[in-house]
Symmetry: D3
Subunit: 275 residues, 6 copies
């Protein structure tokens, strides 16, 4: 069960409106790596978590915080949408050459559909969807995904930081960057904790019995599918594997292990073309 | 530029058909974490990679291999679709009680749309789409995502391994499990290599100048948004942060830092309800 | 069965082209609340309607009219797309500063995919899809949805009216506004008619037997999930409920009625992390 | 800003597992009219609301409650997924004829992707997306939509009530039915309140100046686009209009008001076929 | 402008209900190659057509007929949904083993969302969307697409014909097969007519000036990207090209014409990993 | 199994960057008729092909080549994205009026999500998805679709050719135009080959036994659903049908063959409104 505090987690007023930047800011609200994604991902991971105690709480705490980030960014976008040029004629009437760029660079649905408010969409305008999130039940797999989500998220916030001069917006982005720093650290720490607790190792799922001879032949060999040997110079081609269970090998001319497949004739009731 | 060898990378014949399992196997072909995702993700990461040499090759080698995995699984699915019951009447005519379950558990589009062939969809039947992949240009962010992709992928293959008794199918899954083991190791090794080469650290992007006082206050503090202190027992609430740059703190009653937001009246030409 | 008249329902010629407004006008053609939505929604409601006579006809009449609105707006968009700047170079060659804004504000798919014709997409360019419509079989539920659809639709047309100076376009929008006025009235009248005919009341579905003590405790109580009592000042916190069956109550500190959920360990064959 | 209570709003344990019903229950979690929709719709309506005080709180209170409903249903689904047959062979091994129906009727992604946990998808398995929600800024339009959302939602819960015999599930559905009763009443009361406060009337947007002669001719006339006069028997064909501003008229042979459109030749650089 | 006749184009009553077949029949209603696709495709092609007279009429006539096919199939599906088992318990209670298969093979949204009525979705349950249709403005390109659409459509109807024993359903499918035969012929005839009228030839767009030396080297050469020469045995490797403008050549070892691409370092403000 | 050559099939360097054109060029990379579509379509057609030898090879050769086209266009887009204006302020600071148009006309996700690299999306920014491709198993149906795909594809490339002045880009487009010319010819030749080999004729599927009297009445008759007889002037209204099996007829007033449908009352447990 949730409750809501009317105040915001952090101060978030822009110095001035900018409808074109509002469209861009949508990426970290409703984009693949935006706040709706992390909020929903962590909440679903928490609801589906079978370990009561610190792990379940971890997911639900961070997920609940992210709901507050959704709120802050939605509020910021709504403020950035003020005073936008609604028509080409209005844009042209202004002396400021930026107005035309704002008109072209804005998302028209912000006005026609949203009435000047934020939308659950990305910087293009494509709606957020549930396939963006994963809650697999395997905590190691999900912790790595969460590290990746926060890394991609912080990367996008950092890029947006360079796309505006507005001090108020920049201050909000600084706050989000700081929290993304923390969240990357949280999920990395959770990976360590999971190992310490003896619950999962690499590769995921660790519990799967090995594939016997196939592991020997295919489980630690780098297959180079192009001419040249540049790829042999990396850490992935020689030395111990990071999971501590094998030794990398390098194969510069991977071979096929099965002949060209010949399919049986299909069911004639499906009217496919058959031999 | 690519070329194609008619042979397959690994032997892939089922002992018998099973249209219901064919639908399930689609998850690792056209699902969010399936072979189409990793193939396209690594190829786009390679095409967009600005570092010539071992990193660019790494992406393109593994991506090219995954195209061959797409091919093997598509071929397997087509073989599993043979001799499926097309109608309820046909299903009922069989004495075998499994035939009704196959009928109900199959994807009808396999027959009506695909004519008995594999489709670029997941186990539900939802088409694969480009939002499943990310090529951000930042290799550390993408390597963590690739570890996650291979972990989720291997997890799904391991689950499917438990969903069939067919020895031929199991052998193909063993091969894929072995390669996913290798690929998890590859991307973990690539993270190490990137650090060794001095190209990126945590948090991503490392190059972003810190957020000053905000980092101090918000960059290393665990915010617990629910009653109780279970979450304080994890690695994420005390001790050094995994990025080596801070010390975790724990805050059991996070406070709001901004008052309730009051929006300005909107543009009257948008006909929103205003104060 | 349908037939088609070559003439249009209303005169619809723009005074001049405007590719950027054409993109915006797509919202009421292929957007969530556009003409494709209402046309298909009413037709499906009619085809699925189990009441022969006035109700079935109502759906099919209005749905058939909306097909004609789709036609008019598609034609208008095609006309607005004439003479658009195709390249940056062409846009820059014009002395008119609006041309750059048109170039940036247009939907490139109108030209590359549609060859200068209307598309079944919204103002962003996202394709119309079948999830926009609902035909539930319960007429009261659907009539309220239809009121909402016409209200959202008229709102969007009114906003677009303020986004252009073109007299011909404004005349078409005036016509659509008038018909949306009528359609809002139609569905409100249909709600009245349904009640008069004794077919359905509020809440929907009225026929569902009440939930006993749960109704008593939960069916008429406003739960205020945030600090403060602003919400208690509304019509929804005291007095008789609009369905005439209860009395509003107000609860400023809603409590949880179930302990923290603890999930059982999952199936080990799924390799989730378990206690 | 949000906080989370570990307890649930209402008791929600099934008496036994049923993976096929779990798939169906997803409709009210991640379907078009499910809890994710109402939670997000009301929260966005609240965040974008320009009226401080009771209206803004109303949206945020109800939205926050709906987040708790998402949590309860997700938890229920996870519990219903226990002990499901993973393979056809396993299904066939059971003597119980229901096991085959469960196998066929389940969503395989629940196991392969979700590891036995709830997903943000509908009863088919299609992911929830942001186009399901609308926050238009016009409160009358949105209140009618909210009535419709709660009516469709309660209708679906009532149908699901008839699709299971499990007493624990039925008890949860009773609770949701009671809250949906309240929520229908809330939004109907909000419509009354909005009128009392003089903020908006029908048709929406009321503030739009009428369309002059077009309103006279098209704003109150029922156009019957099919043979026969059944439609003339409804409340929508005669008498005062529900908005109190006109009188219904009925036209049995609507005429076209514009000739067949003839489009200009297009831009030859687009290679369309031209006269 | 359209009008609607209450009667159907063809008799369409099933002898009995079958909810599992109803789900399958959705493919030709709301699937990629279903009636919603052809109806909308031809209507948009007609609305965007710049040639008044026989071509524009052709599109609009056939599109209008397809609207009537949508209606017939929607009606059929609604009839097939009668008396379906709603719950597992109900399915198990029947002695008929087919009931479990119907339960598993049905689309639950037909009941929960649609209330027993047809939906604008395909046989999986994925909603129809506007990207299924194309109206390019180039009639030759669109006529070939229309031939393909009718061929895929007729193929699917023929497959469905083999998926049911119901004489009433089979009779409807026979009617649709007959019309699809006609429609394939129509679009093939339209290709001939277009050539006769001198409006377009192959390749499309014929008006594009040739690519000079590139045409010579690349415009008529079959590139074989795999070992072996099987592909050289086809009509596409030797002899005159079907467009009458060239002579096929065959190249068994296509070479690359550009070196490995080396990208410039990116904008440092985007924080990509750079050399 | 695939292998990758580091070199590109054709030289592809732009003379200068243009982020707005990069967005447009995405249409032929990740749009409905772009290279990702043809690559995947031909590969799936090949993998599902039941005819070993020249037909299977044909699909896989051309599909493999298209993978190389995906690579070239992705590389070109990445190069075109260099030096784009990231912010409104930056755009305004330039004296060049084109910079504002580039800012408005660019896809912000290219920078925020893709870090300056190509994305698997179309010119609007909508992700590519698997429903764009069809591999039906019937070669005649698929060959016609492939002709259509290449015709639509070449049309789009020809339009893009007119949307840029960059000689390097134009040279790449010339190459693609030449290959599309070849590919149109290939699939037309494949249609001829299939007929020569006696494998399939028109209409598709030719093997379906005719519909008896229904074919007589409905299989060759043009139904004109609008007033006037313009449509009778086409090749489709008289003379032999292109499949060589009938004679066109023309019916200017098609009649309904079934009365208005009256649906049975539905299942009361679904709470639809019933008579
Ligand atoms: Ca965050
Ligand atoms: Ca793989
Ligand atoms: Ca309308
Ligand atoms: Ca609720
Ligand atoms: Ca048809
Ligand atoms: Ca190509």
């Amino acid at each position: 069960m949730f409750s809501h505090l009317k105040d915001l987690q952090f101060e978030a007023k822009p110095d001035g409106p900018d409808a074109a930047f509002a469209r861009r800011l949508q990426e970290i609200l409703g984009g693949k790596w935006g706040e709706m994604t992390v909020a929903n991902q962590y909440l679903y991971q928490g609801w589906n978590c079978r370990l009561p105690g610190k792990y379940k709480d971890l997911f639900l705490d961070v997920g609940t915080e992210e709901m507050g980030h959704v709120e802050m960014i939605a509020t910021m976008i709504t403020r950035l949408l003020e005073n936008a040029p609604l028509s080409l004629q209005e844009a042209a009437a202004e002396e400021n050459p930026m107005v035309g760029a704002i008109y072209g660079g804005a998302n028209p649905a912000h006005f026609i559909h949203g009435g000047g408010g934020a939308l659950p969409v990305d910087s293009v305008g494509v709606p957020w969807n549930g396939s963006y999130i994963t809650a697999s039940g395997n905590l190691m797999a999900d912790f790595y995904l969460n590290v990746a989500a926060e890394a991609q998220g912080r990367l996008q916030v950092a890029r947006l930081f360079n796309m505006t001069d507005d001090p108020g917006v920049k201050q909000l982005l600084r706050f989000l960057l700081a929290r993304d720093t923390m969240h990357q650290n949280i999920w990395l720490a959770a990976i360590e904790q999971l190992k310490e607790d003896g619950l999962e190792e690499m590769p995921v799922p660790e519990a799967f019995p090995d594939s016997g001879e196939l592991t020997e032949e295919f489980g630690y060999t780098y297959l180079d599918f192009s001419p040249g040997t540049d790829a042999s110079e990396g850490r992935w081609a020689a030395g111990p594997t990071p999971d501590g269970k094998g030794e990398f090998r390098y194969d510069n001319s991977p071979r096929a292990h099965a002949p060209e497949p010949v399919l049986p004739p299909g069911d004639p009731r499906l009217y496919g073309t058959e031999p």
